[in-house]
């Protein structure tokens, strides 16, 4: 499987009468983009804004973040299974707009019972900028205005503790938001046709010296679909070629998890672990593949199934070592630790990329831990309290859901409200330090 990833640098986005890429400036005709995305049965209108690094701007209510991509040769479409048939991703040529991102935002829909994880903030400057990798990209923000109406949630189901409870109407609007964000990303990248990329990188797992240690990446999905299929009940690990993951086979889907860990589509397209393993393939290791798991097993038996299948599959692929990321909290943290233990017992060395959850000083920051987990890399704490300054411009709504604060004002949030703050598989900017 060989993927040519052709990069077209975007240094700025300018709203203009014509949509085209000229040099490193992407000109976008708002009407043309809207015409491409609308009408949609669930979305009435889209507000289009640009947020640039360093601007005094705040994006709130973000759902997904996507890097613009389009297939030039090879399979029919990027995001197979979502924007077209689920043909295999990861081969042929894909054009990407580097340095920018499409951010989809929407305020809570009628019939949506959100929890803390719904809020996702990107500050383009100030103290908050350090807490999101998307403060460094030029962002095209699509703010989705849903069609009116929709079924309200039955008050009996409005329970504070239920994760992401939505009526069908609210679910449809959420799906439409994600779908149109992907579609916009493809549309923008399609404007590169016939242009010369700034650089092209080839991704192929060519033969490597068999004496180098075999390494697999165990990617615990938190809310992603593979080729359009979203399964929380799958009990088995799904082996993927890394090219499939970076070329749009995996996108954000399902329910929303905390913004700091959220595996937005961008985090799969530009997965930091995959990039690192690719760059070292044939140098000091042999990158054997990605084992992707999307399940949320709730019973011990299901967790054992998932952990067991992971270890055996890793062995089949010739793994001597495994990178496990991300480790989050709750149920997945238990499976992750089981996988770590079973890997180590089977002779596979592990390193875990984790986000910390230290609610208080002295808190260990884990929900579960095994002694075999002796190589952890931290991507930052979820509960660090942040006081962020007032901003001149807010995109994506007027209120910050956390504490129902005025979004333009000075706000107090935790790091977990900042999009991508500590996802260890994404290009994050935080790290832990021991004193």
């Amino acid at each position: 499987m060989k993927l040519e990833l052709a990069s077209f640098q975007v240094d700025d986005i300018v709203l203009a009468p014509e949509t085209r890429l000229s040099g490193t400036i992407l000109y976008i005709n708002e009407g043309e983009l809207k015409d491409h995305l609308l009408p949609d049965p669930f979305i009435e209108d889209i507000r289009i804004d640009v947020a640039r690094p360093g601007e005094n701007a705040r994006i709130v209510n973000a759902i997904d973040v996507v890097e613009p991509r389009d297939k030039v040769t090879g399979p029919e479409t990027v995001f197979p299974g979502r924007l077209g048939p689920p043909t295999q991703a990861g081969s042929g040529t894909t054009n990407r707009l580097a340095g920018m991102a499409v951010v989809g935002t929407a305020e809570p829909f009628v019939g949506e019972e959100y929890w803390y994880a719904r809020e996702a903030i990107i500050d383009m400057s100030g103290a908050g900028a350090a807490y999101s990798p998307f403060s460094e990209t030029v962002n095209l923000v699509l703010h989705f205005i849903p069609t009116a109406g929709g079924e309200e949630l039955d008050p009996a189901r409005r329970k504070q503790f239920v994760v992401d409870t939505r009526t069908r109407d609210a679910e449809n609007r959420m799906k439409a938001t994600r779908h149109l964000t992907l579609k916009a990303a493809r549309f923008l990248a399609s404007k590169t046709k016939g242009l010369t990329p700034h650089h092209t990188r080839t991704y192929a797992l060519g033969p490597a010296d068999p004496s180098l240690p075999g390494v697999v990446y165990l990617c615990k999905s938190l809310s992603a679909s593979i080729y359009g299929s979203f399964s929380t009940t799958r009990k088995w690990v799904v082996p993927l070629h890394p090219n499939e993951m970076m070329d749009g086979a995996v996108v954000n889907f399902g329910f929303l998890i905390a913004a700091n860990f959220r595996d937005c589509t961008y985090a799969y397209q530009r997965n930091a672990v995959v990039e690192e393993l690719y760059s070292r393939h044939g140098v000091d290791l042999n990158f054997r593949g990605v084992l992707f798991y999307s399940a949320f097993p709730y019973t011990l038996e299901e967790k054992e199934l998932e952990a067991g299948s992971t270890v055996r599959t890793a062995k089949m692929l010739g793994a001597d070592a495994a990178i496990i990321a991300p480790l989050s909290d709750g149920h997945p943290s238990v499976e992750t630790m089981m996988i770590c233990r079973l890997c180590e017992e089977a002779g596979i060395s592990t390193a875990i990329g984790a986000g910390e959850m230290t609610a208080n000083e002295g808190d260990p920051g884990f929900t579960h831990w095994v002694p075999q987990a002796d190589a952890l890399v931290f991507a930052g704490d979820s509960h660090t309290r942040l006081a962020l300054p007032a901003v001149e411009r807010v995109i994506g709504g007027h209120r910050v859901l956390h504490g129902d604060q005025e979004a333009a004002g000075e706000i107090e949030v935790e790091a977990r409200q900042m999009l991508g703050a500590s996802n260890p598989a994404a290009p994050t900017r935080l790290f832990g330090r021991l004193y």
Partner: protein
């Protein structure tokens, strides 16, 4: 992954006052076995009978067939996921009783709307015995008997394996009890010296040998106890897992002639052949386990893509794709063959034929790339079977095919294991 498989050649099984293995004869305390099964049985009654090769005996309504296996003393159980946690298959030491099979049998359960494939016959002698691999094993038949049926439901014959919850629970219980009996029998041999110990391990071999993957098409297996496969991505398995009880017959009963009973998974002839040749003229790189149950072309594309991709990730130069089954999964199966060939993996295919009439191709889908087919027999021939002295499992064949002890003329597809491409089948086609 290293598996030591200790084999005991069993000449006969007899009921006795106490359990033991004496001069190759397995003595079984029937009451103790029944007690062991009754601990977890929801059935009104259980019974165990023995059927030996050459006897004038016919077994009917057969469900699963299992070779007796147990893990050597220590942690872990055989048939993980059913008898214990879903871990440990394919590693450590296992015991097997060669020449013995446990056969589960029952009349259709209350709430089971069975169809033609439910009737599975094992002939212990006569012309039917020449065709059936289980006419050569000493069979310990476990019969599951439900209480009087109070709610006779209409049988439509049109639903494939349509059951209500009661019937599903009964089928799952029958499956569990069959493997439990198999484990019980094998444990009897634990203190005896095995006749043979084989080591199964995919050790590194000469890099220049062609790499061969076995793309195992799931036509009705449960993996670690789970059989709720619908559509999914292919996965990788180590052959040891399969031969050591990770795969058992699911709760779907396909045609008896090609039914993937647990015994065939335990003794998969393709895995044995590839292991035999590992390091000689090929390198066996592993098993791609693929389900083709997706009902749309798009899902079939994904299923077949994922299987072929995994074969490439294993570095395969060639692949054995088997078994074929008709219906939706037959299409996905052929797509796998085509995509392998087009991407540089040579395939050889194990199929069974379904030829309702002369001139029929016998396959519901075919691609030109599938140019190396090994067929293991035609299911639609009919056969005359003589009357027998004794029947185990019931009194009448299902679907009004006749009294079970009488002379019969039936399609060979009802003979258990007749043409399963991964089983030790006894048919070979001839082209005229």
């Amino acid at each position: 992954m290293r598996l030591e498989l200790a084999s005991y050649d069993i000449k006969d099984v007899v009921f006795s006052d106490s359990d033991g293995l004496v001069n190759g004869v397995l003595h079984v305390n029937k009451a103790a076995l029944l007690d062991h099964l009754s601990e977890v049985s929801p059935f009104e009654a259980l019974d165990v009978e023995i059927a030996r090769p050459g006897e004038s005996v016919r077994i009917v309504h057969a469900l699963d067939v299992v070779e007796p296996r147990a893990k050597a003393p220590g942690p872990g159980r055989v048939f993980p996921g059913l008898l214990g946690p879903p871990l440990g298959a394919g590693e450590g030491r296992s015991l097997r009783l060669g020449g013995v099979a446990v056969v589960g049998a029952a009349e259709p359960f209350a709430g089971e709307d069975h169809w033609a494939f439910r009737e599975a016959v094992i002939e212990m002698s006569g012309p039917g015995a020449d065709l059936c691999p289980f006419s050569k094993t000493v069979n310990v038949v476990v019969k599951f008997v439900q209480g009087a049926r109070t709610d006779e439901r209409e049988k439509t014959n049109f639903g494939v394996d349509a059951w209500d919850d009661d019937a599903r629970r009964a089928i799952e219980a029958s499956r569990l009890l069959t493997v439990r009996a198999a484990e019980y029998l094998a444990r009897i041999a634990r203190d005896a010296q095995p006749d043979e110990v084989s080591i199964y391990e995919l050790e590194p071999v000469d890099e220049s040998l062609p790499k061969v993957a076995y793309i195992h098409h799931n036509t009705g297996a449960a993996l670690y106890g789970w059989s709720d496969f619908t559509y999914d991505h292919a996965m990788l398995l180590h052959p040891n897992e399969i031969m050591d009880g990770a795969l058992v017959l699911s709760t779907r009963f396909v045609e008896p002639a090609i039914r993937d009973c647990t015994y065939f998974h335990q003794n998969n002839s393709i895995i044995h052949e590839l292991y035999d040749r590992h390091g000689k003229d090929l390198e066996f790189v592993g098993v791609v386990f693929f389900s083709g149950f997706g009902s749309t072309m798009e899902l079939k594309e994904t299923e077949s893509d994922s299987a072929v991709k995994l074969a490439h990730m294993l570095g395969a130069d060639a692949a054995i794709v088997s078994p074929f089954r008709s219906g939706h999964s037959g299409v996905a199966f052929m797509m796998v063959c085509q995509k392998c060939e087009r991407s540089g993996i040579r395939v050889s295919v194990g199929v069974s034929q379904l030829v309702p009439g002369a001139g029929e191709p016998g396959l519901n889908h075919w691609v030109p790339e599938a140019d190396a087919l090994v067929t293991s027999g035609n299911d639609r021939e009919t056969i005359k079977l003589p009357a027998v002295n004794k029947v185990i499992g019931g009194t009448d064949l299902l679907n009004d095919m006749g009294r079970a002890d009488s002379e019969l003329e039936i399609e060979v597809r009802h003979l258990y294991g007749l043409s399963a491409p991964m089983g030790p089948t006894r048919l070979a086609p001839a082209l005229y």
